[in-house]
Amino acid sequence: MTIEIARWEFMRFFKPRDLVVTVIVLVASFSIGSLAFQWLASPDAGVVGIAVVTPSGTVGEPVGEALGALAAADEAVTAPFRFDAMTASDAVVALAAGEVDAVLRVEVPGVVEVRASGEPPWLGALSEIVTAVTVPLRLDRLGVEPRAVSEALAPVPLRFVPEGPAPRGGGGVTIMLVIMLFAIFTGTGLLFTVITGEKALRVTELVVSSVSPQTWIDGKILGTSAYVIVYLLTYTIGLLLSIGALGLLGRELPTLPPVVTDPVLFSVTLAFTVLGFGLWFTLFAAIAATVSDPTTSARGSFIMLPGAAIAIGFLGLLGDADALFFRIVSFVPLTSPSAMPVRLLIGTVAWWEVAIALLVLAASLVAVRRAAGRVFALGILMTGKEPTAAEMVRWARRV
């Protein structure tokens, strides 16, 4: 019966055509985005036209001479800028007509005035190119050999010698975080919608008269979890196809994170994820069952809780993943689904720690399933007043 309910819940949301469209949109978005990036990065794209006004009074002044040199230089050297020498009046006309993006002039020796509309994003790049041409002129004027200056200012090289085993790398952790948050929000959101919706649709009594509330909540969680997995797989397939598309476009392919390539790490992470999501989905189904009107109930905000707990597990990325705090949260059932995989990826974990954390998580799921079933059984038939937290705890403890 649980399987029938799980199948129904799954099929309510599973729309193969929508998933195929999702993959196509994902691949198309990536490809178009990549092509756009390539186009923007190409030499022809986004050329900034600069009119250079060099009055005769600045000849012999390094900055003025640099601008003159830039105006005479080949466009390939000055990319993405194209410098054209103009008279002051021609430059003003060209700027007004939009033929150039800016006008450069030296009114005060050593200072370049830039006239342009708005605040151009390329000001830093412009400063770099003007400085690069000006510095050798300044050194020449000071009688300093440029090579001597380069040698004096050359950075001291540091050679890194790794000590002990190489870290497993956290390249995939960010992807894991995004996927887990995505999955937990999708799952809890679906459960909230489904359960409060069924109360509103008045199908609750019909189902509860046929099967036990425990069977119903079990089926719902299984069905929702299955849909979330398919949803995530769809996105994963879409991402992989997008990466393939990048390869076809000649872009460098990213390396797969160890959580995907290492079978042990993959299995352990999967076990934590499945049990952890089961735990959160079970708790959330019980909470959703007590909601009388989803449009006014403050309990809708509880949807943030699973995401917050998952995020706590990922805080290990910011500091030492093996610090006492993260060792503790990697054993707490509500946070261990993310904290322990993070420690496995970027920290040092003994096998027995993983085993204990998994056992604690599994045992919690079993206990919470029964308690949540009791809350669900009473909450799902209630309308009007929502039960208080104390009432829910009392129901959960009822044998």
Partner: protein, 334 residues
């Protein structure tokens, strides 16, 4: 009339136990006793109605019959296979809740199939039965339609199919007539009759007394959670001393008090303009009444009918209220 709990004490009737036996059932919610010591039996193949106004405790009783709620006191047993059991097998009952609803975006046949599997059918069997029922109601061409694309009457048919698709021994219908126009109410009456012809036991709760009157074999009248009368319509009529209504149309209607004094009727009520409705004892001749009335005014038309269930119910509630008041007065309450 013998009450079921009294019957259990006085004599145990031979033969199989009743299909449903309800004994001194009590259900309380915070500060409210929704059902108070209610007892009744439902026999195989009959249509049994729980009758009462809103708040009488009908739906609570129905939910206990379905196993959705458990009684705080008393017991409910089912003897579907001949042996009395304290819990009902959900596969053997069909339930049409008062708060009706289906998944609006789901296809018709898939919904019926799913609800059938929840009642113990295999998916294939549920689908095959669902198709048969849809054909019976002329809805075969809507099997793949979304529920919310159907008219309200057709949605009601689908809901009804979902209640009986697994061929239950007992169909429990909570307020099956509520929320429908007369055409659809007639449809429900017709559906209940069809279930009866197939040998299904039907328990229904309602406050539409006229519809219950034409649907049920036996009736339990409830008021404020308590049973006030139980039996066939005839037994209830006898218990409430109800007679027949004689509807008399006059050229010009006589004075109400004068008409009552002249005829000695149990009750007289004004009807439409020029019409008076007299209640006379069952067996009393209408001729005597008419003879008395022709001396008061010119009679142009006469029709007779049994006292309606609605009137019986109101009278029973009044009697129960009076009994309660006397009991409280006797106990020294103000």
């Amino acid at each position: 009339m013998v009450r079921p709990d009294e019957r259990a004490v006085v004599a145990v009737p031979p033969g199989p136990p009743p299909l449903v036996r309800v004994r001194r059932v009590v259900k309380r919610f915070t500060g409210v006793t929704a059902v108070d010591e209610v007892s009744f039996d439902v026999h195989r193949g009959e249509a049994f109605a729980l009758l009462g106004p809103n708040g009488a405790g009908k739906s609570t009783l129905v939910r206990m019959l379905c196993g959705i709620l458990l009684p705080d006191e008393g017991r409910i047993t089912y003897a579907i296979d001949g042996e009395e059991r304290p819990r009902v097998d959900p596969r053997r009952i069909g339930y049409l809740p008062e708060d009706r609803g289906l998944y609006p975006d789901a296809p018709v046949l898939r919904t019926i199939t799913y609800l059938g599997t929840l009642r113990g059918l295999t998916r294939d069997d549920a689908a095959a039965r669902g198709e048969r029922w849809l054909a019976r109601f002329g809805l075969s061409d809507r099997a793949d339609s979304r529920i919310d694309s159907l008219s309200k009457g057709n949605q009601q048919k689908v809901q009804f199919i979902a209640t009986v698709v697994h061929d239950p021994a007992v169909a429990i219908l909570d307020e099956p007539f509520s929320g429908f126009d007369p055409v659809n109410q007639d449809l429900v009456v017709q559906l209940i009759r069809e279930l009866r012809t197939e040998g299904m036991t039907v328990i229904l709760s309602a406050h539409h007394m006229d519809l219950v009157e034409v649907t049920a074999d036996r009736i339990l009248l409830l008021h404020q959670g308590r049973e006030i009368l139980e039996g066939t319509l005839g037994q209830i009529r006898a218990a409430t001393s109800a007679g027949r209504n004689v509807r008399v149309t006059f050229d010009v209607a006589p004075d109400l008090a004068a008409a009552r004094a002249a005829t000695g009727a149990i009750a007289v009520e004004p009807g439409a303009p020029g019409v008076l409705v007299f209640e006379i004892a069952t067996g009393e001749a209408v001729g005597a009444l008419l003879r008395a009335l022709t001396e008061l005014a010119t009679v142009t038309d006469v029709t007779t009918a049994e006292v309606s269930l609605r009137d019986l119910y109101l009278r029973a509630v009044d009697d129960a209220g009076e009994r309660e008041e006397s009991a409280m007065a006797g106990a020294g309450h103000p």
